[in-house]
């Protein structure tokens, strides 16, 4: 499998601020790779580095086999991108904005404009000035500009930004289809883990400029913490009993017992039987899983210890 994006120890500093700190990653051809991080984590700076908009302080980046330098002329004919917000010339219509972009990408057929309008559902707005578009439609226009020339690689900064729930699903399906059917490689950033987990095959978690973790989607599932939540009439007594039996049990603020032992999680019925035999009638028995947001916040050290 060819590597489409490759960075080695990429660093970008602005004065005393380190926006990207020693980033090394590989994105394979046809993959959907999501870059996840809080605001200010360095996602947009990484994208600007990949697009040759800013110079790295150290390290290097290669995109589609070309070493990226600021102002480099290659490999942009095969790359479509959306950086930060989707902006367009407000006095030009949707169609004129796309036509302008088409002309700046030589070799793109005139029909590409209509195709992009249709693909992004912009037909009813084609002759509306971009300045009068809703946030969601402006985002669609930004994506249409990125897709216009049928690129091999899409670099998208928060592609779901401003879209309504139906729009998010539509764009997600479009991106999945592009990767699956046309082998388009997609490198996207997001701060919404739930959205990323529905789209990406591989996820890189960026925090304060550093790549904290890179994992496949199934690894993400495996890494999420699980626990068994139990409630009885007398939680204190039941918890003591479980502890005496060797389980890692603790009471929670909402008057339940959380048990984190794998044996308990995999066999909740055994716990239920043990409690009932000891005279503790159950009012709740549930295996719970850390949600994606909790997992992410735990990873970046911002969960306040809630998901221990």
């Amino acid at each position: 499998m060819n590597t489409v994006i490759e960075t080695d120890n990429l660093v970008k500093r602005y004065g005393d601020v380190t926006a990207v700190d020693g980033l090394s990653l590989r994105v394979a051809q046809g993959a959907i790779y999501a870059f996840l991080g809080l605001n200010g984590a360095g996602k947009t700076t990484t994208i600007r580095l990949l697009l040759g908009m800013v110079k790295p302080t150290a390290g290097r980046a290669r995109v589609l086999g070309t070493e990226i330098r600021v102002g480099s002329k290659k490999p942009w004919d095969a790359v479509g991108y959306l950086v930060e917000t989707a902006d367009a010339y407000p006095q030009l219509t949707v169609r004129q904005n796309l036509e302008a972009m088409r002309r700046l990408r030589p070799g793109t057929a005139p029909q590409a404009v209509d195709r992009a309008i249709e693909r992004l559902g912009l037909g009813p707005y084609a002759d509306r000035r971009a300045g009068n578009l809703s946030h969601g439609n402006a985002q669609r226009l930004g994506l249409a500009k990125a897709l216009l020339h049928a690129p091999e690689l899409l670099i998208l900064d928060e592609p779901a930004n401003g879209l309504d729930p139906a729009g998010i699903v539509e764009i997600r399906n479009l991106l999945i289809e592009l990767a699956r059917d046309q082998g388009v490689t997609i490198f996207m950033s997001s701060h919404i883990l739930a959205e990323v987990s529905r789209l990406a095959q591989r996820i890189g978690i960026l925090h304060q400029g550093r790549l904290l973790q890179e994992l496949e989607l199934d690894e993400l599932e495996r890494n999420r913490r699980r626990w068994l939540l139990v409630r009885t009439r007398d939680c204190q007594a039941a918890c003591s009993m479980l502890r005496d039996a060797g389980f890692s049990a603790e009471t929670t603020p909402n008057a339940a017992i959380r048990i984190t032992d794998l044996a308990a999680i995999e066999h909740p019925e055994a716990i239920a039987a043990r409690l009932v035999q000891a005279g503790h009638a159950l009012t709740l028995l549930n295996v719970e899983e850390e949600d994606l947001e909790q997992y992410f916040l735990r990873l970046v050290g911002m969960d306040g210890g809630n998901s221990k």
Partner: protein, 257 residues
């Protein structure tokens, strides 16, 4: 410089669809229309006072109602006003990419950044030249409508050459404004630079060194000052530095907007 023709097409589209051509045309049309107004007043000051075109206290020291006076007014206005108006055009053409946050869409394309910068410079030059031609045509129309006394064709040629040279010098001086718009990311900083340049121009003129300050040269030339080649060379060098700075900025600087 690949795909330059298409880049020029795109820049013209962006300019054409905005209101700026209309505003700048109205602004520059004020020059011949204002001059025409004074010609009308000078033709018959008493009538102008009677109908209220000017107040009884108005002091008319402009000259006579004839073609040489009218053309001199036009020449001076293009020499001085062009610095502001052409500078505004350059501020807008470059600064809008920052204000509209569209710059990022121009930075990773198969069309080189140099082609985009050059296409913008070409649009500024053509736009400024078109305004100058429009102003001259309005002047001829207004003068003819006012039936100013006929003069030898050489009077028109001389004025035409002076206006053309003053306009070219002024257009050359838009490149540092383009650089200021690029380096300081928007419309307002280059307008500040323009005001600063004009302020310094006033000082250097007062001190008698105006012919060596680039932004004073077009107005001095339009006034008929006998400028040496040094003045023209200074303007051209300033233009080249502005252009080189703009190219280098677009090609090499970190673009974070």
């Amino acid at each position: 410089m690949n795909n330059l023709a298409q880049a020029i097409w795109v820049e013209f589209l962006k300019a054409r669809r905005s209101k700026m051509p209309l505003f700048t045309a109205l602004g520059f049309a004020m020059v011949p229309l204002g001059g025409g107004f004074f010609m009308l007043v000078l033709k018959d000051p008493e009538m102008a006072r009677r109908v209220g075109l000017i107040s009884a206290k108005a002091q008319l020291a402009m000259g006579a109602a004839d073609w040489p006076t009218y053309l001199r007014f036009l020449t001076l206005a293009v020499g001085a006003g062009g610095i502001i108006l052409f500078g505004l055009i350059a501020s807008w053409v470059f600064g809008r990419e920052y204000s509209d946050r569209t710059l990022k869409d121009l930075l990773a394309l198969p069309t080189s950044r140099s082609a985009i910068v050059l296409s913008k410079c070409i649009v500024i030059a053509v736009w400024s030249a078109a305004l100058t031609v429009m102003t001259c045509l309005i002047t001829l129309g207004v003068g003819a409508a006012l039936a100013l006394p006929p003069v030898a064709p050489q009077v028109f040629w001389r004025s035409g050459i002076t206006i053309t040279v003053a306009a070219i010098l002024t257009i050359i001086l838009t490149t540092p404004i383009a650089f200021a718009a690029s380096a300081w990311h928007g419309y307002l900083p280059p307008i500040g630079v323009m005001i600063l340049a004009m302020g310094i121009g006033q000082l250097t003129n007062a001190a008698g060194w105006g012919e060596y300050f680039p932004w004073s040269v077009p107005a001095l030339y339009a006034q008929g000052e006998n400028l040496g080649p040094a003045s023209i060379i200074i303007v051209i060098l300033t233009g080249i530095l502005g252009l080189a700075g703009t190219f280098l900025w677009w090609e090499l600087a970190d673009q974070t907007h």
